[in-house]
Amino acid sequence: MVWQFDVIILTLVIVCGIGALAVKDLIGAAILFSAYSFLMCLLWAIMGAVDVAFTEASVGAGVSTVLFVAAVFQTRRRSKD
């Protein structure tokens, strides 16, 4: 494992996480959350947790995002904070 990669991805994960909470557009937040999940999945794959990474890629980055978008579609897209 190359630690530089690890550090870069971890930083990106934190940035995406904060971004998902900060963005006012909820669809954007959902997509950022998806990116967050995907980076997390990469991180776990680096650490050798392949099964967990696989699950996170399909569940976290895949289905969760669709569910978020579906729910936002049924409610309101703009958020005030």
């Binding site: 630690w3 690890d6 550090v7 971890l10 994960v13 934190i14 996480g17 904060i18 998902a20 909470l21 909820l26 937040a29 959902a30 959350f33 967050y36 999940s37 997390m40 991180l43 776990w44 650490m47 050798g48 947790a49 392949v50 099964d51 967990v52 699950t55 996170e56 569940v59 976290g60 289905v63 969760s64 569910l67 978020f68 579906a70 729910a71 936002v72 049924q74 409610t75 309101r76 958020s79 005030k80 904070d81």
Partner: protein, 131 residues
């Protein structure tokens, strides 16, 4: 200098998990929008999963799929060669639980929207106090 980097790197995962947990917790408690709260909840849960996966990591080891001889040759299995599989198992469960919670949370959020026609908590509170 090298030692400090080594220390930082050796604990970097733990720091990241703490930061993510704080971010998630802040999102859950302080954000007004219900969908934002749910995103915070998910970040919080993934942070814990990151923590568990970090526990399972092992230096100079490979993924926990045992090499096995197909044609009868004996392969000696050594525990230090493979990453600890137990945290992975636990976290598979945790991921599934988190997506289940996500589904119920979004369903409740849609119900809340149906009732109050908004997802902002402070607007709902002001509607409630008007009653």
């Amino acid at each position: 200098m090298e030692e400090i980097t080594a220390l930082l790197v050796s604990r970097y995962n733990y720091w990241a998990f703490i930061v993510l947990m704080m971010v998630g917790l802040y999102g859950m408690i302080a954000k007004n929008n219900l969908v934002k709260k749910i995103i915070g909840m998910n970040i919080f849960q993934t942070a814990i999963i990151l923590f568990y996966v970090s526990i399972g990591a092992k230096k100079d080891a490979t993924i926990p799929i045992i090499e096995h001889g197909h044609h009868g040759e004996e392969v000696v299995i050594k525990a230090v060669d493979y990453i600890n599989p137990l945290p992975h198992v636990l976290m598979l469960t945790a991921i599934v639980v988190s997506v289940a919670t996500l589904g119920v949370a979004l369903a409740l959020a849609i119900r809340v929207y149906r009732q109050y026609n908004t997802l902002e908590e402070n607007e709902i509170k002001s509607q409630l106090s008007e009653e």
